[in-house]
C-alpha cells in the first residue's frame, strides 16, 4: 500500500504541474503599463512555490515508499539532524522566500497604488449599480456635475442622478455604457457605488478594485493596446451579479475624439 500511495502522489504531482509548465492556462496578454510587474511577480512566485510543491510531494512519496510495512522488529530510526534541521531549513527556505516576495512584491503594488495620477490624465467617473456599469465624462467644460441620489431615474436614463436644470456643470456631462479611452493615455477612474458593493476587474489591465458604497475611491491606469476588453463585477452584488459587465474600448486618439463628438451630439 505504501508503494501504491507513493506512485499515486507522484502521478498527481506531475499531472498537477504539467498544465502550468506547459502554459496551458495563462493570464491574457497584458495591455497596461504596470501589468508586467505583476506578471513577473506571478511567474517568480509560480517557480518558487512550484519547486516547493513538487519537492514536498516527491519527498512524501519517497519516504512512504521506503518506510512502509517494514519487517517486524525493524528498529525505527530518526532523521539525522532532527527537528533542529527542519526548523533551520524552514527559516532559510521560506524565510528568504517571504522576504524576497514581500520586498519585490511591494514594487508591483506601489506601481498601481502609490503613484500619483498625472495632471493631464483623462478623468472618467464610473458608477456601479445592480447590475450595470455606467461611465461619465466631464464634457467640454472639464467639470462633473454633482450627484443627487434622489434624482436617479433609470426609466429616463438618468443613471447618475444628474440635475441639468439646476447644475450648469452637469449639462454637458457625457454618459455612456462603455468605457472608451484613448490608447497610451492615462485614465483616472473615479469610482462610485450606487447601491451595494461591486468591483471593477479587467483581466488584461491587471486591475481590480472594489467599489465601496459611501466611499469614493479612485484608480488610474494606462492602456497600451487598442481593442475591446471585458469589465467584470467581481464583488457579489445580488442576483444579476454574473451578468454585470461592460466593455473597455481602447481606441486611437483620433477614434476617441470622433467617439466623443458623436456622444456629445447624442446628448
Amino acid at each position: 500500500m505504501g508503494k501504491f500511495f507513493a506512485i499515486i502522489v507522484v502521478i498527481i504531482a506531475i499531472a498537477s504541474a504539467y498544465p502550468i509548465i506547459a502554459h496551458k492556462y495563462v493570464q491574457p496578454e497584458d495591455i497596461s503599463t504596470h501589468g508586467h510587474a505583476i506578471d513577473e511577480q506571478l511567474s517568480d512566485t509560480m517557480a518558487e512555490s512550484g519547486f516547493a510543491f513538487l519537492g514536498a510531494q516527491f519527498v512524501l512519496a519517497f519516504f512512504v515508499w521506503r518506510f512502509t510495512a517494514r519487517k517486524d522488529g525493524t528498529k525505527v530510526s530518526h532523521l539525522p539532524g532532527g527537528a533542529k534541521l527542519m526548523v533551520v531549513a524552514a527559516f532559510i527556505l521560506v524565510g528568504t522566500e517571504v522576504l524576497a516576495l514581500g520586498v519585490f512584491g511591494q514594487k508591483a503594488w506601489a506601481s498601481v497604488y502609490f503613484t500619483a495620477p498625472k495632471p493631464d490624465d483623462l478623468q472618467v467617473q464610473v458608477q456601479a449599480g445592480q447590475f450595470a456599469f455606467y461611465f461619465r465624462y466631464p464634457g467640454p467644460d472639464g467639470k462633473f456635475g454633482p450627484l443627487h441620489p434622489d434624482k436617479i431615474d433609470e426609466g429616463n436614463a438618468n443613471f447618475f442622478g444628474l440635475d441639468p436644470a439646476n447644475d450648469v456643470e452637469a449639462r454637458d456631462d457625457v454618459v455612456a455604457a462603455e468605457l472608451a479611452v484613448p490608447v497610451n493615455k492615462e485614465v483616472h477612474l473615479l469610482m462610485h457605488a450606487k447601491d451595494v458593493g461591486h468591483s471593477f476587474y479587467v483581466r488584461e489591465l491587471r486591475l481590480q478594485q472594489d467599489f465601496v458604497p459611501g466611499l469614493d475611491l479612485s484608480l488610474h491606469f494606462t492602456a497600451t493596446k487598442p481593442g475591446k476588453y471585458e469589465i467584470l463585477c467581481t464583488q457579489l452584488c445580488g442576483l444579476g451579479h454574473y451578468n454585470m459587465k461592460a466593455y473597455l474600448d481602447v481606441m486611437t486618439q483620433e477614434d476617441f475624439e470622433k467617439w466623443m463628438k458623436e456622444k456629445i451630439s447624442e446628448q
Binding site: I12, Q27, P28, F67, A69, A90, R203
Partner: protein
Amino acid sequence: MQEASPAQVHAPPTSFLRKHVFSLDHKVIGLQYYGLALAAVTLGMVLSWLMRFHLVWPTVAVPGLSLISKVGAPGGIITPEYYLSLLTMHGTLMVFFVLTNAPFAAFGNFFLPIQIGAEDMAFPRFNMMSFWTTLAAFLVLITAFFIPDGPPISGWTAYAPLSAIGSDAGPGLGWGQTLWAISIALFCAGSLLGALNFISTTLDLRAKGMTLMRMPICTWAWFITSCIALLAFAVLLPACLLLILDRTAGTSFFIPSGLVVSDRLQPHAGGSPLLWQHLFWFFGHPEVYIAILPSMGIVSHVLMASMRKPLLSAKVIIYSMLSIGFLSWMVWGHHMFVSGMNPFSSLVFSFPTLTITIPATIMTLIWLGSLYGANIRMTSASLFSLGFISMFVSGGVSGFFLAQPSIDIYLHATYFVVGHFHMVMGVASIFGVFAGTYFWFGKMTGRMLNETLGKVHFWITFIGTYCIFMPFHYLGLVGNIRRYSTFVDDFMGPLMPLHKFITIAALITGAGQLIFLFNLFHSRFWGKPAPQNPWDGTSLEWSIPSPPPWNNFGDVHPVVYHDSYQYGVKGSKGDYVMQDSPEQVVGG
C-alpha cells in the same frame, strides 16, 4: 450549614432523555456534534453538487428540485439567484457547521477530557447548552430554505450593505438574511460556551502527572483552537448583533447614506461597509485556523501511532501551532487587499501573512522528516493522515500568491482563491476528520470501521479532491471569476471543458462519500467489536474500554508517568509504553 465544592462529578444518567438527548456527558455531546456535522456536510455537499451541475448543464432540469423551491428552481432549473442561495448556504454550512464542529467540537468534546484524564468537562451543563445552541443555530439556518423568499444570497461573508439593506437588494435578503444573522449569532454563543469549557477543563482538570507538555498534540491543538475561538467568536457575535439591528431596527452601522436600491433611496445614513469587513475578517481569518489546527493535531496524533515512532519534535509542533494562533490575529486585512482599505495597510498585512507560512512550513517539514526511518502501518487513518500532508502542501503553496497584494489584484475573487481555501482549509481539515474517524470510531462506538471500505473511500476521495480542486487554480490563472452562476463572458467559454471535468469529478467523489456513510452506519451496528487499544496507542483513551464507561475511568483516577509519544521504545507490551504505565522507559 454544610459547605461543599461543586459536584463536578455527576451521577450516572438513568433516563433515556438524560442518556442520549439532554446528556451532560461530554462523550454523548461529542457524538451529537459529530452527528450534526455529518448532517451539515451531507447537505452542504448536495448543495455543491447542485452548483457544479448548474454551472456546466444550466439548462438541464434537476429532478425533484422544484419541489424544494418552486421559485428558486422552476421546473428543476436553477435560477441565478437560487445559485447564489446555494453558494451562501454551502459556505455557511461548511465553514461553521462542518469545519468548526467536526474536528474541534465533536472530537474535542469526546477526547479532550479523556486524554487529560478527566471525568468530564469542567461545566457539563454549559457543554450541553453549547450543543443545543449550535443545533438551534443549524435549524434556524435551514429554515431559510423553506420561507417564501428563500435563503440569503450574499455569500457566507455577508458583505454589507448587500446583507444589511433588506429585501430591496434582492430575493433572500429579507427574512432569509435575518435568519442567517440570527443563526450565526447563536452559533457564536454556542461556540463561546464550548471554548470556555475546553480552556477551563484543560487548565484545571488534568490528571495527576499530566503536565501541559505531556498532553497529546491533539489536546494541545484543541486547547489552542479554543483560545482562538474564544476571541474570534467574541468579535463575530457583536458584528452579527449590529447587522441584525441594521436590518430590523433601522440603525445605520454598516449602511452609508444615499444608496439607491431598486429605485428606492434607502432610509439610512453614515454607516461604514468596511466596518463589517473588518469585524468579519477579524473573526474570519482566525476561523481558518479554528478549522485546520484540530486536524493538524489529530493527524500528528494518528501519524505517531502509524509510524511507530514519535515526531521529530512534538514541542516544535506545539510551538508552531501557538505561533500560528498568535499570528492569525494580524492577518485579517489580506482578505481586503482590493476592498478600498488604505493601500499602505495592504503592505502591512502582507508581511505577517507571508510570515505565517514559516510555522506552517516547519510543521510540514517535521511531519515529512519524521517519516524517515519509520515503520508505517498502512491503515485507513494513516492514509488520510498522509493524504492530509499532501493536501496541506498543495493548498498551502497557493497561499504564497494570495499573500502578495500585487498578485492578489489579478487573482482576487477568481477560482484560484476558491481552489486555495478549499484545499487548505476544507479538504485538508476534512482529511483530518476522516483520519480521526477511522482512528477513533472503535473507541467512540465500541465497533470498528471496515478497513477495506475505508481504503477504497480514501483512494476515491484523495484522487477525486485533487481532480476537483487543482483545476480551480488553473481557472483562476486565466481569470475565471467565482460566484458566477453562468459563464456569459467571452473568455470563459473555452474553459467549459475544464469546468465539465471538475463537475464530473465532484459527482464521482461525492458519490464515493456514500461508501463512508455506509461504513459508518453498517459498522455502528454490525462492525467488529472494538478492542481497548486496536492501534497500539499510548494516550489515555487507549487505557479504558471501548466505548468508555459514563465516567470514563471508572472509579479510578489515572496517574500519568510519561508524555504520549512513547513509540519505538521497548515496553513490556511491544514497541510502546502507555502514558499511565509506571514502567520505566528503557532507551529504544
